[in-house]
């Protein structure tokens, strides 16, 4: 008896409201949000394929990590159905994405569109890489004692580098260098055949040689 009274109450509440303006059941119309369909109405396999493609561009709001096309949730199924109906009615991809974005926000697009601050998402990694490469190159060039970009030997606080055939000022060290050159290159006496005059060190040794 109590149940019957409650059902009557629910129906009564509804009837009271509905009586103000008797209408038929109508779901929210995408036309009021994104205008008339601007594409070509599809049917058959083309409709299914296009619906799947567009549904793949939408994020499932329930599971969030999957697209509407991939998600098995009830809400994703309903969203797929909505996409299917919109594609069938001739709405194009941008209109459909805009319709969902209008209610769910940009979040619903799996790929953030290239606009506003989203440019940072696309350009940020490339810009970061370029900036990093520039910083590394700069750091390497300015650091003393490292190989420069031209593959030159490390410099020593701006002093001119000794030539390839020069010898140290220390006589015993010079004799050792000459013997090494003789063994390594086969030069008689360790003297370069192209530079027979190179017998003395090109510059004065720093400090006292012991």
């Amino acid at each position: 008896m109590r149940r019957l009274a409650l059902v009557g109450l629910i129906a009564g509440l509804a009837a009271g409201l509905g009586a103000q303006e008797p209408t038929e059941v109508t779901a929210p119309d995408p036309r009021s949000a994104v205008g008339a369909p601007s594409g070509r109405a599809l049917s058959g396999s083309a409709l299914d394929a296009e619906s799947d493609r567009v549904a793949g561009l939408l994020r499932c709001p329930v599971c969030q990590g999957l697209s509407v096309a991939d998600s098995p949730t009830g809400m994703a199924v309903k969203m797929r159905q909505q996409v299917h109906e919109m594609v069938g009615a001739g709405y194009d991809e941008e209109q459909i994405l805009s319709y969902f974005e209008r209610s769910y926000g940009e979040f619903v697009r799996l790929e953030p569109p290239l606009r506003g601050v989203n440019w940072l998402v696309w350009a940020g990694p490339v810009g970061g890489l370029l900036l990093g490469a520039f910083a590394i190159r700069r750091a390497l060039r300015s650091r003393p004692g490292t190989v420069g970009s031209a593959g030159e030997p490390p410099s020593d606080a701006g002093e001119p580098l000794p030539g390839p055939d020069s010898l140290p000022a220390d006589e015993s060290l010079a004799a050792y260098v000459l013997s090494v050159r003789e063994r390594a290159y086969g030069w008689p006496g360790g003297i370069s055949p192209s530079r027979p005059d190179t017998l003395a060190p090109p510059r004065k040794a720093e400090g006292s040689a012991s």
Partner: protein, 175 residues
Amino acid sequence: MNRRVLIAGTALVVPLVAILLVGLGRDPHVVRSPLIGRAAPSFSLRPLGGGPPISLESLKGRAVALNFWATWCVPCVQEHEVLAGAARTWGAKAQFLGVVYEDQEDTALDYLRRKGSAYPSLFDEGGKAAIAYGVFGVPETFFISPEGRIVEKFVGPLTPSELSANLGKALEATP
């Protein structure tokens, strides 16, 4: 330390830390509805228990609390009494409407028979109303001004004070 390196490092790190601080202060599950401030999507849906369809258009001139709910949703059960009580209190100024989300009509009707109801609940065939309102889950309640504009969206179970505050905001909203 090289002065230029210090400046460049600060210019990079400070914005990143600021973004992190702002981001960490937010609930990542809450996405602000883009519908707030816009016209509420119109619909005309069949109420549970029979009767003619109810349209949002027919309710213009009164504030509307549009509550998406389901019988399987525990927070919805928690807020049921709050909504029913508020519907009785605010009945003269505001209209409460429920929309069944991802549920069976019979199950929802049976639930209302057991728990009682102070306002109509509508059946959203195909979930089109939930999609148009950008519903992520339940319960979610939209507060609509008498002119038909969405003033606020509340996610989660409402307390009496939260409900009153939001409904008051909807009633005070100027077109």
